[in-house]
Symmetry: C2
């Protein structure tokens, strides 16, 4: 469907000069009426100033505007960082004439540098003037760091014959690992519900989407996922059935965003789903899948389009979960490459190599020990990943 | 000191045709008299055939010869793999006219391929004929995979006025992580002691050396460390004092080998010691150090010679150990870069950048929470690491 913001929302994104490369770096989301809101934040002990501020403010369950910037994480910046975050929020509140407590903030970029608040203060009037119901891509561009494309997904749903919209905007690229929220992700919807319901649904969706992807095993200090519901559509989500209908659409939006994040991961040439089946439990399957998905040796083999299944079984073997190699089978898509821990020969290898040339495929590991299963979406580790991350600050 | 094998030991290394590149790939260590022996093996659930065979045979505490090959790991090869390992050992036993149970084997290389036993059988006579007291470097070359230099360390010690020698040979390069033994490592000494004492001392030394290094977080299926003591020098190691003297020398040999392994890690341009101090316990310090040492974002920044300390503190923050950023200091060698979780400015950064240009340096993280400490030796993640591992099997 055409990508659009839900009713009552506007967005903008402009160049304020925070980024050295002269690209858009400051974005604003605004709801014409105060929205119910919920958020999920990084599990890292080291939390950026905007995360600390949002965690405090989101307790009211209300939000009307989100100010986000790229180019500077405002993390490890102490009391000054927190003051800076509050200051920028207050300028937005004044400009929009809304209560300061209804403004949330988010930052992404280099850790350890102070926010250039002067540049932001100068840019706020233009940022507010630029707000429009069509500004969602400008906002999405303004939060990009090493992302190569803006990520926006929109879905329309229907409840009791009335239609509503969910639009999600995310940025990722690196420092992505399934641990609580990941990256920056903003969800706007025009349904009517409470912040408690929103929090429950957001957490559930994240477990099924953003927490199932890994790029480099690093968890950011700034991870933030926020959802705003302004009730503009008049669609109420109150009963269990209504919740389920909305949950499905929300899952859909977040899963789509998660896939786009992996496809556009730093230097990635392939998005690969690692599926573990036949484990003693879902939890054990998850640990095996995570270990394989995070192995540099597996990820470099994927980059090299090499069906080096030995690295996959070796990663499974060191996951901390007891596996039995003699019962382990490995498939690349539908090609059986390993049966009972032994390779299936040159013909299977030739067919597997064909699968590995595709930009997206599945690696399925059957452990033959039970009914538990799990899956994780990962990408390859390429020369460009190293180049991007060796030169990130320069 | 001049590198030499201890008395009564001989070694050889030749080209048998297992490796596609035509380099040495088959090595033999032989003691003129049966030696006392001990071994430490991989903690991976997936264990190669030679590991399974050695774990069985080492129970006697005796060994007289070690046959090692590169180019093929003989792992995930089922019953045939185990038969192959036994066969190759039996040819060595016949050739040397020693009991088959005194021959141990070790393999390294690609997982999932069968050992080319025909090539090995043809090569055994030449391998045995080539044995000499000066053959240690030939052996060291024969076990190399992606290593660029052979790794041999020799130390002489004195106990009760009599001198003895320890010589260690190792191969590493990739798939290195501190979990039990790592890689292939063979230690020969001419002291006289029991296999029980050897096992205790070997395990202790490994904890202090091979288990303190990480290259890519992957643990191999073939990790094997063996020690042989043939008593040739007449030096007995029996009392606690004698043990301590020998332990110091053994630590020295293994620590030196560990350093050489990191320096020669796949694609590495830098060897960096990550030291965590001020933790609530040594164990927690270790978890923080391991997380930093294993972070791809930290390792790519090291490659880029970028003092991006935000990635270091972010890795510490996601280690699972509760840290307090406001109490955390970070040094690059003696340059204080981060004080109480905040950067120390442009001057400190300029000095830290100078440190990062060195091939070896330390990153010290003070957590300000207690007396626990730990250190891990790691390397950078370079473009060459990806190239080497994307094309390993081709």
């Amino acid at each position: 469907m055409k990508i659009r913001l839900p009713g009552g929302f506007q967005a903008s994104g402009i160049i304020s000069g925070i980024k050295k490369n002269g690209k858009k770096d400051l974005g604003l989301i605004y709801s014409n009426i105060p929205a119910h809101a919920a958020g999920v934040f990084t599990a890292n002990c080291v939390q950026a100033a905007p995360v600390l501020l949002d965690k405090e403010r989101i307790r009211t369950g209300r939000c009307q505007a989100i100010l986000a910037n790229s180019g500077c994480a405002n993390c490890c910046t102490g009391d000054q960082g927190l003051d800076d975050a509050k200051k920028t929020a207050s300028w937005i509140a004044s400009g929009l004439t809304i209560p300061e407590g209804l403004v949330l903030v988010a930052s992404t970029g280099v850790i350890g540098e102070y926010l250039p608040v002067g540049k932001i203060e100068s840019a706020v009037p233009n940022l507010i003037d630029s707000l429009s119901s069509g500004g969602v891509f400008d906002f999405a561009e303004a939060i990009m760091t090493t992302d190569t494309v803006p990520k926006v997904v929109s879905r329309r749903g229907e409840i009791n014959g009335k239609s509503y919209t969910i639009t999600g905007i995310a940025k990722g690229a690196g420092m992505i690992h399934p641990n609580m929220a990941t990256l920056l992700c903003f969800l706007c919807t025009d349904i009517k519900t409470t912040s408690g319901v929103l929090h429950r649904m957001l957490s559930k969706s994240i477990r099924r989407s953003l927490n199932r992807i890994t790029v480099d095993g690093d968890t950011s200090t700034n991870d933030t996922a926020l959802i705003l519901a302004n009730g503009f559509s008049g669609v109420s989500v109150e009963t269990r059935d209504e919740e389920e209908l909305f949950q499905n659409r929300l899952d859909d939006v977040l899963l789509q965003l998660a896939k786009e994040l992996v496809r556009d991961a730093e230097g990635a040439t392939k998005a690969v789903e690692i599926i573990v089946r036949g484990s003693e439990s879902d939890d054990k399957a998850r640990r095996v899948a995570d270990t394989i998905a995070g192995s540099n040796l597996v990820k470099t083999a994927l980059f090299g389009e090499d069906a080096n299944w030995g690295r996959i079984i070796a990663a499974a073997g060191r996951s901390g979960v007891s596996i039995d190699p003699d019962k382990t089978d490995i498939y690349f898509d539908d090609v059986l490459m390993v049966k009972n821990g032994c390779g299936c020969g040159k013909d299977a290898e030739a067919r597997a190599t064909y699968v590995l040339k595709k930009p997206e495929f599945r690696v399925i590991i059957h452990l033959g020990k039970g009914e538990g299963s799990a899956s994780v979406l990962t990408c390859d580790l390429s020369i460009d990943y190293v180049k991007i991350n060796a030169n990130y600050r320069s």
